[in-house]
Amino acid sequence: MQEILSDYDVLAAFWGTIKLSILGTIGALILGTIVAVLRLSPVRVFQWIGTWYVNTFRNIPLTLLMVFSILGLTFILGLQLNSEDISSNVFRWAATMLAVYHGAFICEALRSGVNTVPVGQAEAARAIGLTFGQSMRHVLLPQAFRGSIAPIGSTIIALIKNSTVAAVIGAGEAANLMSVVIENEGSRFSVFLVFAIGFVILTLPLGLFFTSLSRRLAVKR
């Protein structure tokens, strides 16, 4: 175990995982909020688009999305996120696909949060003359976010662990280094232990944080 830590740059690999997760989380929160608003909007077409997004990206395996981003989008359609450097192109696509995939889950978490807001409040907001946008911004979404912190936290933790899927397109993160170590050292128990502990260090405090946050911020009704 000591040997793995001294021979390989484990910290740099986990730094890659952290960067990927942060970028993916920001993107997923933005996308998820947009899609949730679409699904809740009174316009039928927007609802369709939102439903289509969630059903599509929630049901495509992440591995497939990752491979498609490079084999399909970069190599065949020529959509490069960095045409100078192939590895940063891969990294950016990996973050994008993490955001796109988990955006669907964030959307559903948010919608469950919206459902905790009594219908009467939405009706009251419209009755006093707030537009759809205003009632979303001032009444529904603030309560929805507070009500859905726990499921959003679970989604973010899942995102951190799912960032390992990016190894199938060779993005520089922990799972990539793990396959290097296994190739060189053989699949010893200590190899798995090092990486498992790394992920526990990343996700366990986050889980505790979200649990306490959801308790403190819960809307008292």
Binding site: T63, V67, I70, L71, T74, F75, I76, D85, I86, S87, V90, A167, V168, I169, G170, N176, L177, M178, S179, V180, V181, I182, E183, N184, E185, G186, S187, R188
Partner: protein, 285 residues
């Protein structure tokens, strides 16, 4: 009362499920041994090979083909096991050491390069073939003639593989794209997304010879490393190692080795490096 009955039923079904699962695995073993006994009479042996490498170890239906498979069959025969006694086990790269040390296989013939690190956990007999890292390019590409021409080119390999690590040292200026499997690299190569694919020349030759890529891809033919394929066995089993080495020597002497190489790697237009092949076995330790 109802609740108690219900939970008793659940407990009972869970137990039977568990037992059934055990039964299944026992059946699997039985079935394999059964297929072994059809030809056999000899000593049962479990051999680990790759199932997905054309020309080396490939499973097609119930048939196993490739150089690794042919060498394994010959060695097994010399050790007293007929073809029917062999149980083939899939040995993916990352699991090879575990398969041996836990006794799930007796020998591994799976493009298993002999390295000092691996010798710490397993012992090697052989080598039975010496391959080298090479490049696969599109057939009409004349710009890539060897590793030195790779600067600034887009190169593909499998995440974490030795080939990917080595090429970073040999050509620092190369742009490396990594995928989970070689098949994705080959797809990217044919679509023009990358310029070359690198790994052992034997594996590359297998892909170049596949029907759907015939005539579209070529192996450059300039190796820049030496991969010595050995036979992985339990650490410290020198008796078995000696036996295998004797069998290998006999295989080369009788010309069976050359026949196996020609039959499996020949169709790919693969030129065997005769200065290194057939190799002489290392001393057992």
């Amino acid at each position: 009362m109802k609740v108690r009955q219900f939970s008793a039923i659940i407990a009972a079904s869970v137990l039977t499920l568990g037992l059934a699962a055990c039964g299944d695995s026992a059946d699997d073993g039985g079935a394999d041994a059964g297929s072994g006994s059809t030809g056999g009479g000899g000593k049962a042996v479990k051999i680990g090979i790759k199932f997905d490498q054309p020309g080396l170890g490939l499973k097609e239906g119930e048939n196993y083909t490739g150089l690794d498979v042919d060498v394994a069959k010959y060695v097994a025969k010399e050790l007293g096991s007929e073809e029917g006694d062999i149980t083939w086990v899939q040995a993916p790269s990352a699991q090879r050491e575990t398969l041996i040390s836990t006794g799930q296989v007796d020998m591994i013939f799976a493009t298993y390069s002999i390295t000092d690190k691996r010798k710490e956990t397993v012992s090697f007999a052989g080598p039975y073939f010496i391959a080298g890292q090479d490049l696969l390019v599109r057939a009409d590409d004349t710009s890539i003639t060897g590793s030195e021409a790779l600067n600034g080119k887009k190169l593909c390999s499998v995440t974490g593989s030795t080939s990917a690590q080595k090429v970073k040292d040999v050509v620092p200026g190369v742009q490396l794209q990594e995928f989970g499997t070689y098949s994705e690299c080959v797809a990217a190569l044919t679509s023009g997304g990358i310029d070359a694919l690198t790994t052992d020349n034997t594996i590359l030759a297998g892909y170049a010879a596949q029907d759907q890529y015939k005539g579209k891809l070529k192996v450059v033919g300039k190796t820049f490393s030496e991969e010595r394929y050995g036979i992985g066995i339990k650490k410290g089993d020198t008796a078995l190692c000696e036996q295998i080495n004797t069998a290998l020597k006999k295989m080369v002497d009788t010309g069976e080795w050359q026949k196996a190489v020609d039959a499996n790697l020949g169709p790919a237009g693969f030129k065997v490096d005769t200065t290194k092949n057939p190799p002489t076995a290392d001393a057992c330790s």
